[in-house]
Symmetry: C2
Subunit: 424 residues, 2 copies
Amino acid sequence: MTTKIEHILLYTGLRLVEDGCLLIRDGAILYAGERSGCPEGAQGVIDGKGGICMPGLCNAHAHAAMTLLRGVGSDLQLQEWLQQIWPAEDRLNGEHVYNGTMLAAMEMISRGITSFADQYFFMDDTARAVVDSGMRANLSRGIVSTGGNDEQKLQEGVRLFEDWNGAADGRIKVYLAPHAEYTTTPDLIHRATRAAARLNTGIHIHISETPREVEECRQRYGISPVRYFEREGMFEVPVIGAHCVAVDDEDIAILARRQVKVVHNPASNMKLASGVAPVTKMMAAGIDVALGTDGVASNNTTDLFADMKLAAILQKGFLMDPTAMPVEKVLHMATRAGALAMGFENVGVLEAGMRADLLILDKDAPNLTPSTDVLANLVYAAQGLNVRLTMVDGKVLYKDGEYLTLDKEKVLFEAQKSAHALGL
Amino acid sequence: MTTKIEHILLYTGLRLVEDGCLLIRDGAILYAGERSGCPEGAQGVIDGKGGICMPGLCNAHAHAAMTLLRGVGSDLQLQEWLQQIWPAEDRLNGEHVYNGTMLAAMEMISRGITSFADQYFFMDDTARAVVDSGMRANLSRGIVSTGGNDEQKLQEGVRLFEDWNGAADGRIKVYLAPHAEYTTTPDLIHRATRAAARLNTGIHIHISETPREVEECRQRYGISPVRYFEREGMFEVPVIGAHCVAVDDEDIAILARRQVKVVHNPASNMKLASGVAPVTKMMAAGIDVALGTDGVASNNTTDLFADMKLAAILQKGFLMDPTAMPVEKVLHMATRAGALAMGFENVGVLEAGMRADLLILDKDAPNLTPSTDVLANLVYAAQGLNVRLTMVDGKVLYKDGEYLTLDKEKVLFEAQKSAHALGL
């Protein structure tokens, strides 16, 4: 099946094409460019008139099922917040996780997010939701060493890899996920790293989210989490490093040298009062920083358009430099860098040979008029709800308010029911 | 004409009513509370099923016509940015200002913003757009002393007051608007203050937006802008003070004692790299801080839902305190505080005796499910595009994507045309 998307203002991630066109066969982009040069032979045509087409957004750090915990424990100190979150999480079962992930998928799809990296538990149910929703995802079973059963959790992560890595036509990748320095032991880090190396996969982990985490790590090991992970050999495998807020110059040099895929989560970092990650400095050091929403318990929505704007203006305001974090860098962060962080090499740019993960948004919406600077509009003025079409792997998942893979009423109903079952 | 809005989850600004109802006659709220207690006798009924009804958002600092300049000069140093803005502004005429304000009104109405405070020029045309769109506004002719004709501009401001103050059934108020300390003379401040006192109106002015502005004021007068304005007597009349980013404790004490209506513009302050206003400290000192979008050339959209979230998480992240700026304070800032700043005493709370400026948004939207904490959802998860109905002074302006006072296609077309005419 070959599909043509035409009459679009096309932003491929590398260039802007005024009267653009995409030709897609079996989920792969055959042609991206001027409409006049587009090969013939499409069976299906999507008329994108009045639309801007760009790479789908890549949400490189999330806990999708936590959508069920939206709004729980707002405006509280971390410890009090966790004391509201934990009892609810204790009641979670696989069905809840499936329902929460389907709700998250619905929110993401309607905002042009085409892929996400998830670290949580009951991950088979998350994987089922990825298959059913049609999204692309990097999944991992989060492991904490408390309770003495971390080997069992690690084996669950390995089993998740064996069952799901490469599934759904390659839309699912599986990483291993020791949770963070402060929730694991050096021994677990060694075992997880060895397992990841053996499986030829990577690790998704929280790194230096708060100054307090770094301080406590120094008390335990005399060094920062970044130096600790390097010393323990974890950076020998590909790593998605969420947050990296409290990192110093030496940490940044290590992250750059080891090509760690740092994921910036600006909304969560600000809401939880963790601070502003030195993204400008990390990028200058050569780190290909990606963007994430984090879980909905700390964001409280999943809209990377909002987070792109936040990422851009936070760096400007924090560094007192209006030229910091220009739009091209922000767009790269939310698309190609995220895809690469998740290990999807052929995603994040709309050029021939790549997979067709994309969104089309309404160029003529009031908040995008006039369109004097299209890229500035995408970063500073667009909102997720401007999206009118979302496609993953060549398949339309969302169009003009309709979900093609999800039953909206059912997903909302089941999610509400699960939230009630958690005592919320 | 009496209208009933029923089957709503009602947030009046003071309390939450589960099965709520509003009765509205001639733009005034007769009853607000439980549906079961609502008086009979409505001629019209609005079924708000599945909706959350709350006070309309009050945008207390804007330059609406600058919507035409959306996206101009992004990511530049202030001086380079202004050099892109000024030539376009030089070409502005009344028709452009009308068209830009209509576009801004469309964007605001569709996001639940019911009133705004505007400081610009060609303000008769702004006033026409307010009348035509059905919004509520505090309008003022911005005055800079450069060019030696500030008395003429002040007289234009006075004439604007005489022609428009109280117009459109009281929906329009007119203030005077010396632009800022660095763009005016002490003599103009005196004349404007005297004129405002004589007309029994107020002043809308930029105050201490950047550290540089404060530094230059100190070089000129030996004191900060706040102390300077106090010394020159300007705080004898009601003042809308936009920004107040670079204020110290003594400034804050003066602003509190003089009951200056400070307007926080977080998106603009961050994008222009001005810094984070000490809103938590100002509120603790007793200042009733309001919220503004500022002009679209520095925001670049007009969505107070986005700016509510930003205001809340900026204070948390900046102060490293997750309890800073809780949701009730943010909601107050974006509603009642803004109405009071603009001088609309009977706006901003949905209780009997107040004017019916309100919005209804979709409680069951994916990004607002589950609704465990309604107020947290409004601040942290809602977006302007969740709004499905906007009412000003008892009149529906927007419903389910349709504009009842504006011709959407015409407004978009004319705005694009005006943007082209400005050389954009």
